[in-house]
Assembly symmetry: C2
Homo-oligomer: 236 residues x 2
């Protein structure tokens, strides 16, 4: 069944354990607790042995980021698959799932979303977001926004994003026309991402200007407004 040699299997297993230990340390004791020595201690080996698997502490942290993104993506997809309503419902579901995930995984969220990252940034999460956004846009057949809704200075960037979206979706076999994915919608996707990220980050980092005792309805309220703005009707 498995084509891998014994050595390859052992190596893969060790690597799995490294990631798992790193993740546990991050979750339980924060970013600064994810040290090579602590991970090694957890596995019953010595720190330099980890250099057989990762070039540096930094590389291991990058891998950790990717793992987190992949897990988050899986969680979002799972929540999305439970939602069988129309597109507006799906968008709402995935936004709520994102918030839920972030609140349940604050350390992971902080590591992935709030570090002045490597400019590359071609991480797992990007493609997940593009995936979801692209699919949701593609299946929303009502084109309520025309191109001339957005200022012309933004066209260049939005066209680029449009291409990125089209590519991302086509990689999964879905093809959408430019008439459906028009610039007005693209712009609203960006704006929605701004509001979604803003709200979730503020909540996770406790940076609202006052103590919010009941943040969930506030999030839902923002979501309603966002969906209205993006062109979905408000009926739930």
């Amino acid at each position: 069944m498995t084509e891998a040699t014994r050595r390859e299997r052992l190596r893969a297993e060790t690597e799995r354990e490294i990631r798992q230990a790193a993740r546990a340390l991050l979750v339980e004791r924060g970013r600064d607790a994810v040290t090579l020595r602590a991970i090694a201690r957890e596995l019953g080996i010595t720190a330099p042995a980890l250099y057989r698997y990762y070039d540096s502490h930094d590389a291991l942290l990058r891998q950790l980021c990717d793992d987190i993104c992949a897990d988050m993506a899986a969680a979002l997809y799972a929540d999305l698959s439970l939602e069988t309503g129309h597109v507006g419902c799906k968008v709402r579901a995935v936004c709520r799932a994102f918030r839920r995930w972030a609140l349940a995984h604050p350390q992971e969220f902080a590591l992935v979303f709030a570090s002045p990252r490597d400019p590359l940034g071609a991480d797992q999460f990007g493609s997940v977001f593009l995936q979801l956004a692209g699919q949701l846009i593609a299946s929303n057949l009502v084109a309520t926004h025309a191109d001339d809704d957005v200022p012309e200075v933004l066209h260049e960037d939005l066209v680029r994003f449009q291409q990125v979206l089209v590519d991302a979706v086509s990689e999964h076999g879905v093809s959408i026309g430019e008439d459906i994915l028009n610039l007005g919608k693209i712009y609203h996707v960006v704006q929605s991402w701004v509001r979604l990220y803003g709200h979730v980050a503020l909540e996770v980092f406790g940076r609202f200007p006052f103590a919010v005792s009941n943040p969930e309805p506030m999030f839902d309220s923002m979501l309603d407004q966002m969906l209205t703005d993006i062109g979905f009707s408000d009926d739930s």
Copy 2:
């Protein structure tokens, strides 16, 4: 002129140098470079000497956060004082100033705004934001939003925020009535903070889903929408 003894002056001077060195390290080499030993090296003293000024490395970082907030507040106030137009213009000016400051000080921004902070959070920045928001709201005499605009589940939190705002402004001698600072406006202030923070953080952390080549007009465009939503007329 100065009532302080020689010793007090020297101490104050050293403390100033500590903060300055810590700040320089943060700016030039990132959060992780702000170590006690590096600071001490910069001052030509030894690391344990710093414990005469701060209880721990963590306490020093907290002080650094406060310093950053104070500096940012000063920068925002300065930019605000240059703007002599009506309230809409002032809001626009201070939002732009916030973005400009964040982009010019990414390490400081990350430290202050994107760490799962101490729940206390009664930092300098809070009062600055409340200051500005309160004043701007108070001077916007056109009450375009009524209380029934916002869902009732939010009332409890918004009333609390209303009180916080009223207190913050009254501490500076300005008193405003509840009729002006109604819940609809409060809600829009919160929503504006969500969008402002979201956009700036995404830009600083490079977390837009595509490479934005021209982010300024995108920010301005969001600002226009935000000001329209909040009830300011769109004439510049």
